[in-house]
C-alpha cells in the first residue's frame, strides 16, 4: 500500500510548489494510470514513491512504513521504477550486465539469477541483443531494456513513467498486456504514467493531476462520461467519444455510451433496426 498524506513538494532553490497537498492511498494490487498535462507533477510524484525525492511537507508511506535513510534500500527493492528517459538508468556496459546489476546483492543463486535475466529479456523481446551496448540500442530497444531490468527484480510495486512511448502499436500493446498479466498473477501494484487514453481505459483507476493537485480520481470510464472539461488538463476525448458526440448532434440516440468501435457499430445497427 502507498499512502500520501498532505504531501507538498518544492525543488531545491525554486519558489514554485510542484505538488500541493496530495492525499492518496493506492492499494496493493491496484492498476493506476497517472495522467495530466506536461509539467503537472507526475514524474515528481513517481520519484516520491521510490524515495528518490523526499516530500518538502507531509508524509509518504510505502507498505505501512515511512521512508527513512535506513529503509530506503529495502523500499527501492520493492518499488521498481522505469524512468521517463531510460538512459538515466543504464548502468551496465552490455544489455545483460544491465539486467544483472539490479539482481546483485539480492542473495540469488547463480541459476535463479540466470533464469530471471533470460526470462525478462525474453519478455521484452531483447534476447538477441544480450551483448550489445545499452547506449547503442535504438530508441524503442532502450525502453524495452529499462523495463526488463526492473521486471527481473520482481518488485511488488512497478512505477512506469511513460515507459512505452516509443514502441509501435503492437509492441506497446504486447508489453502492456504482459504487465497486466503480471499484475493479476502476482498482485503487482502498477502505477503507469501515460498520455495514451487507450491504455488509461484498461486501468482500474485513473488519477489526473493539474498543476500539482489531484483534479480527478476515479474509474477511467467516468473520466470520459462525466461532462468534465478534460481539455483543461491537456486531454482530448478519444476517437470513439468524438464520433459518438458528432452522431448525437445529428439526432442519433445511444442506449449506452460506446467505449470502442465494435460497441459503436453495434449500437448504430440497433438504432437502424428500430427506426
Amino acid at each position: 500500500m502507498i499512502q500520501f498524506s498532505q504531501v507538498s513538494y518544492q525543488y531545491p532553490n525554486q519558489s514554485d510548489w510542484v505538488l500541493k497537498n496530495i492525499d492518496l492511498t493506492i492499494n496493493q494490487g491496484e492498476w493506476v494510470s497517472l495522467i495530466g498535462h506536461n509539467g503537472s507533477g507526475k514524474s515528481t510524484l513517481a520519484k516520491l514513491i521510490n524515495g528518490l525525492l523526499r516530500p518538502s511537507e507531509g508524509e509518504v508511506m510505502v507498505g505501512g512504513v515511512e521512508l527513512t535513510d535506513e529503509n530506503l534500500w529495502d523500499i527501492r527493492r520493492n518499488v521498481g521504477m522505469v524512468f521517463q528517459n531510460p538512459e538515466n538508468q543504464f548502468v551496465g556496459t552490455t544489455v545483460i550486465d544491465d539486467v544483472v546489476f539490479g539482481l546483485e546483492n539480492m542473495g540469488l543463486s547463480r541459476k535463479d539469477m540466470q533464469y530471471r535475466v533470460d526470462e525478462s529479456l525474453e519478455l521484452v523481446g531483447l534476447s538477441r541483443y544480450k551483448y550489445r551496448e545499452p547506449f547503442n540500442l535504438s530508441g524503442g530497444q532502450k525502453q524495452r531494456l529499462a523495463i526488463a531490468s526492473v521486471l527481473a527484480m520482481l518488485p511488488n510495486i512497478m512505477v512506469l513513467d511513460e515507459a512505452t512511448t516509443m514502441l509501435d502499436s503492437k509492441g506497446g500493446e504486447e508489453l502492456v498486456n504482459t504487465m497486466n498479466r503480471l499484475h493479476k498473477e502476482q498482485q503487482l501494484t502498477m502505477i503507469s504514467i501515460t498520455h495514451d487514453m487507450k491504455e488509461v481505459l484498461m486501468a482500474d483507476r485513473v488519477i489526473v493531476l493539474k498543476e500539482g493537485s489531484v483534479w480527478f480520481d476515479g474509474k477511467p470510464v467516468e473520466l470520459l462520461q462525466k461532462d468534465l472539461r478534460i481539455e483543461e488538463v491537456g486531454l482530448l476525448p478519444p476517437f470513439v467519444v468524438k464520433l459518438t458526440n458528432a452522431l448525437k448532434k445529428r439526432g442519433i440516440t445511444f442506449k449506452e455510451e460506446p467505449l470502442n468501435i465494435e460497441e459503436l457499430v453495434k449500437q448504430l445497427w440497433i438504432y437502424r433496426s428500430t427506426t
Binding site: T165, D168, H195, G234, L247, K249, T275
Partner: protein, 286 residues
Amino acid sequence: MDISFDNVSYTYQPNTPLEHQALREVSFTIQSGSFVCIAGHTGSGKSTLVQLINGLLRPTEGKVKVGDFSLTSNKNHSVRDLRKNVGIVFQYPEHQLFEETVKEDILFGPRNFGVTVSDEQLHQVIEHVGLEPSILEKSPFEISGGQKRRVAIASVLVLEPKVLILDEPTAGLDPTGEQQIMKLFQRLHREKDMTIMMITHDMEHALNYANHMLVFEQGRLMLEGNPTNLFSNGDYLETIGLGLPEAIKLINEVKRLTGLNISYDRHSIEDIAVQLSNWAKAGGGQ
C-alpha cells in the same frame, strides 16, 4: 530540396563483433515540399535513415542526395551548409540540450550559423511550442520530460530549416500539446513550403497530416505511397502490427458488419458522422 536515396546501406561498427547492418539497399525519392511519415518496428532503421539525411552518418554504400548536396562513404566535404538547411529533432530531447539555460539552448543553433534572433522571434517560437516565456531562464535539465521535448523542437524551428526532420516529435507530449504541435508542423509545411520527414508510431499522424509514407522492416524499405491508399489496402500494415488509424478501423468494421461502404477519402469525424447517421436513419435493418 528534393531528397533521394540511391541503393543506400548502412552498417554500424563494421568489422567488429558488434557489426550491425541497419539499412539495406534503400532507394526512394521525396519531392521538395512533401510531408512524409516514416514507420516501422523497433530497430527497423528509421533513426539511422534520418541521420543520413543531414550528414550525421555517412552511407556505407550508395548515395544520399539532398538538394544539391551529395553524401557518399568516401567524400569528406563539409556538411555545414547542409545542416543549416536540414534541421533534426532527435528521438531523445536530452541529446540536444546541453546549455545552462533554455534560452542559450535555443540560441545555440543560430549562433553557430551566424543568424541573429530577436527577442520577439525567441518569444514567438516559445509560444508556438506551448511554453511560457519564464522557461527561458530555467536549466534544460530541471524541467519536465514534455517541456524538454518542446524546447528541443523550438531549438530547431528557430532556424527555419528548409527540411525539418522529426524523430518521434510528439512522444511524451500531452494530447492537447500533441495536437498543437502537429498543427504547427502542418502550418510550416503549408505556408513556408517546408519539407517534413517525421518518424512516428502513431498512424493517426500518417493519415491526417502526411502525403507520403515510408514503411521499414529490418532495414529494408517494404512499402511506400499515399497514406490513405496504404491504409485502405491495409492488410500488410495490419499483419506486421503497426496498427491502423481509428477512422480506418471504423470504416473496416462498418463494412464487415453492415456492408456499408464509407469512403476512405472522407475519413474526418464529421464526414464519417454524416455518412453513418444517414445510414442509421434510413432504417430497415434486420
